[in-house]
Amino acid sequence: MKLLYFAWLKTKTGISEEEITPPEDVTTVGALLEWLKARSPGHGDALADLGAVRVAVNHEYADHKDPVSPDDEVALFPPVTGG
């Protein structure tokens, strides 16, 4: 699974992109986020307030209950501020 981090999620994790292999029971966005929190202190900090984190799976906005699978590209970012 390919993970991308943008804006302050990138700053806090110190990572812009990483390949991960979560356990087999991580099949939803929500479960993935919980599992990522423990990956490093930076991840824990970045994901402390999940209400401030938006998730896209394969370039589509996704809810915590939406599925994720090993071939997905998952992006984590704050609410957008373009325009």
Partner: protein, 154 residues
């Protein structure tokens, strides 16, 4: 048409291209967003726009298609810049042409409202105490909500 680019755009040339030879167009509505020198009471020295290229393109195409489905638009244009910008610089251009003025206006407002709440861009402001990620504004969410339809999934 949608475009994401680092370089500045020539507003006059972009708009001229939208209407040139199109004698069915009765109205052109345009919005240009610019970098302000102040934000929330703090001076802004510069602004850096980051984005998620693959998703940006997908979202902008979708926003554009949605506008064309909702209103009788002849043409649309979205140009969004990324990278480091200084106060006074152009950030974004949205424009709609239509036979009718209200469709052009509504399409234009819809495009910028949806872009601001859906397209994956983030602003990093360089201010008096260093760089700070800009926070999303509730007023932008409110502005986008007025375009919500019953069948709109999000």
């Amino acid at each position: 048409m949608i475009r994401v680019q680092e370089e500045d755009f020539d507003l006059g040339a972009e708009l001229a291209a939208l209407t040139r030879g199109k004698t069915s167009v009765g109205g052109l509505a345009v919005f240009v967003g610019l970098v302000r020198d102040m934000a929330g009471g703090d001076a802004v020295k510069a602004m850096t726009l980051e984005h998620y290229p693959a998703m940006t393109e997908a979202m902008l195409e979708r926003i554009d298609a949605e506008a064309k489905q909702r209103w009788p638009l002849e043409d649309t244009l979205i140009v969004h810049r990324v990278g480091r910008l200084l106060p006074g610089e152009q950030i974004v251009l949205v424009a709609c042409t239509s036979a009718h003025r209200q469709a052009a206006f509504d399409g234009c407002q819809f495009l910028i409202d949806w872009l601001k709440t859906k397209a994956p861009f983030w602003k990093l402001e360089d201010g008096p105490i260093g760089a700070k990620w800009v926070e999303a504004r509730a007023s932008d969410d409110e502005a986008a909500k007025r375009w919500k339809t019953k069948t709109d999934a999000g």
